[in-house]
C-alpha cells in the first residue's frame, strides 16, 4: 500500500484531535440555547398549540436526514471519481447517523400527526419518500456490513448511494408537486420564510445545534472507521506472520 494512502488518514486523525473538543463545546452550547428558546421563548401556535414544540426537533432532524444523504452523495462521488481514501470512510460513517436522524424525524412527525391529523401515519408523498430514504440508509448499512473487503464495499455502496440520490429532490419537492397533507416548506423559500421570527429563531438555533451534532458524530465515527481498517490490516499481518515460536513445533507430537 502506498505511503500517501495512509498519510492522509493519519493527518486527518491529528486534525480531528484538535477540532473535536471545540466542536463538542459549540454543539453543547447551541443545544442549551436552542432548547431554552424553544421551551421558554417560542409562543404557542394559534392553530397547533404547544405541539408546535415538536417542530423544533422534527424540522431540523428532517433537514439533517437529507443533508446527511447529500454528504454521502458527495463522498460517493469522491470515492468513484477521485478515489480519495477518506471518501468511503466518510460515506460509511455517515449512514448510521443519517438513519438515526431519519428515524427521529419519522417518529416525531408521527407523534405530531396523531393529535393534529388524527393518525400516526398516512401514505402521503412526503412521508413515504422519507420512509424510502430510511430504507435506503438501512440497505446501505446492510451492504457495508455484508461485504468483507471495505474497498469493494465502498465502491458498491457508492454506486447505490448515487442512484438513491434521485430520492432527494423527490423528498424536497413532494409537498409542492403533489397536493398532500404535509404542509409545504415555510422556511426554505425563495421569497423568504413565512413563519414568525419568534418561532424562526429557536428553529434555526436548533438546526444549527443538530448540524453541529452531526458533524461531531460524523468525525468521531470516521475516526472509528479508520481505526477499524487499521485493526483489519494489522490482523491480516498478524495471521500471516508465522512467529518463531511456531517454527519449533515439529514432529514431537501429541503427547
Amino acid at each position: 500500500m502506498a505511503f500517501w494512502d495512509f498519510a492522509n488518514p493519519t493527518r486527518f486523525m491529528r486534525l480531528t484531535d484538535r477540532v473535536l473538543p471545540w466542536l463538542i463545546g459549540a454543539c453543547a452550547i447551541a443545544f442549551a440555547i436552542g432548547l431554552y428558546k424553544s421551551f421558554f421563548m417560542a409562543p404557542e401556535d394559534y392553530q397547533q398549540g404547544d405541539t408546535v414544540r415538536i417542530m423544533f426537533i422534527h424540522v431540523p432532524a428532517a433537514w439533517l436526514a437529507m443533508m446527511c444523504y447529500s454528504v454521502m452523495t458527495l463522498s460517493s462521488i469522491g470515492t468513484l471519481v477521485w478515489k480519495h481514501p477518506l471518501a468511503d470512510v466518510s460515506a460509511k460513517s455517515a449512514a448510521p447517523l443519517g438513519a438515526a436522524f431519519t428515524f427521529i424525524s419519522l417518529i416525531t412527525g408521527s407523534l405530531w400527526g396523531k393529535p393534529m391529523w388524527g393518525t400516526y401515519w398516512v401514505w402521503d408523498a412526503r412521508l413515504t419518500s422519507v420512509l424510502v430514504l430510511f430504507i435506503m440508509y438501512l440497505g446501505l448499512m446492510a451492504l457495508w456490513r455484508t461485504m468483507e473487503d471495505p474497498i469493494k464495499a465502498g465502491k458498491a455502496a457508492a454506486v447505490l448511494t448515487l442512484v438513491g440520490a434521485l430520492n432527494l429532490p423527490i423528498i424536497k419537492f413532494s409537498v409542492d408537486w403533489w397536493n398532500t397533507l404535509h404542509q409545504p416548506a415555510s422556511v426554505m423559500r425563495l421569497d423568504g420564510p413565512t413563519i414568525h421570527p419568534d418561532m424562526l429563531i429557536p428553529l434555526l438555533v436548533m438546526a444549527l445545534a443538530f448540524t453541529l451534532l452531526f458533524f461531531t458524530l460524523h468525525l468521531m465515527a470516521m475516526r472509528n472507521e479508520i481505526l477499524r481498517r487499521r485493526v483489519r490490516s494489522m490482523r491480516q499481518k498478524a495471521a500471516a506472520s508465522a512467529r518463531p515460536a511456531a517454527a519449533t513445533a515439529s514432529t514431537q507430537a501429541a503427547e
Binding site: 401515519w121 401514505w123 413515504t128 438501512l138
Partner: protein, 223 residues
C-alpha cells in the same frame, strides 16, 4: 449431553449475528414489503387497516423464507455438514437446535418489528397486539417447515427459489390460521381462541415433523 446443544446453539447464533447479519436484512425486507403494498392497493387507510394483518403475515412469511436457504447450505459448502452427520449426535435434535437459533436471529426480530410496521398500516392497538401474538406463535412453524425445504434443496446451487416454491404450499395452513385469529381479535363476534389454538397446534406439529423430515433429507443429501 447438554454441552453440545448449547455449543451448537451459540455457534449458530454467532454466525447469524456476525458478518451478513441475516436477521437485520430480514427485517429490512419485511419493511420493504410493507412499504410496497400501499403503492399497489392505494393509500386508503380504512382498506389498509382491514387487510393489515394479512399484509404483515405475508411479509413475515416471505422474509422467513428468504433467510432460510442458507440454513444448511452454508454448512454443506464448507464440509461442516459431513462432520455434523458423523458427529454421533441426533440429527433431529441438531435440526431443531439450528431452527431455534435461526428463529431467534431472524424470526424474533420480525415479530418485534411487526408492531411498528402495523402503525404504518393504521391498525388499532388491539389488532397490533393480536397480530404480534399470532406472529410470535406462528413464525417458529414457518421456520421449521422451511427447514424441510432447505434440507431438500441443500445440494442445489441455486435452491432458494425452488425452496420457496416447495415450502409455500406447506406454509398455507399456518398463514390461514394466523390471519384468521388476528382477524377474529379485531372483529368481535368471532372467537379469537379457536383459530389461535389451532395455530399453536400447527407450531407444535411442525416442531415434530420438521426435524424428522429434514434430518432424513439431509442424510440422503450426503450420498
Amino acid at each position: 449431553m447438554n454441552g453440545w446443544v448449547s455449543a451448537l446453539f451459540l455457534r449458530e447464533l454467532r454466525l447469524a449475528v456476525r458478518v451478513g447479519g441475516s436477521g437485520v436484512v430480514g427485517v429490512l425486507f419485511f419493511l420493504a414489503v410493507v412499504t410496497v403494498i400501499p403503492f399497489g392497493v392505494g393509500p386508503d387507510l380504512n382498506l389498509l387497516a382491514r387487510i393489515g394483518p394479512a399484509i404483515l403475515w405475508i411479509g413475515a412469511l416471505l422474509a422467513t423464507l428468504l433467510g432460510l436457504d442458507r440454513l444448511f447450505q452454508a454448512d454443506r459448502d464448507d464440509g461442516a455438514l459431513d462432520l455434523i452427520l458423523m458427529s454421533g449426535r441426533s440429527m433431529e435434535l441438531v435440526v431443531l437446535v439450528k431452527c431455534l437459533a435461526h428463529w431467534m436471529a431472524t424470526g424474533l426480530p420480525l415479530v418485534l418489528a411487526a408492531p411498528v410496521f402495523a402503525i404504518f398500516l393504521n391498525l388499532d392497538p388491539v389488532a397490533i397486539g393480536a397480530v404480534t401474538l399470532t406472529l410470535l406463535v406462528g413464525t417458529p412453524a414457518l421456520t421449521l417447515i422451511g427447514a424441510i425445504g432447505a434440507s431438500l434443496t441443500v445440494t442445489l446451487r441455486r435452491g432458494g427459489l425452488l425452496m420457496a416454491v416447495l415450502v409455500i404450499p406447506l406454509a398455507i395452513p399456518v398463514l390461514i390460521f394466523g390471519v384468521s385469529s388476528a382477524d377474529a381479535a379485531i372483529h368481535d363476534p368471532v372467537p379469537f381462541l379457536t383459530p389461535f389454538l389451532i395455530l399453536c397446534a400447527l407450531s407444535l406439529i411442525a416442531a415434530v415433523i420438521g426435524p424428522f423430515a429434514s434430518a432424513t433429507a439431509l442424510r440422503f443429501a450426503s450420498d
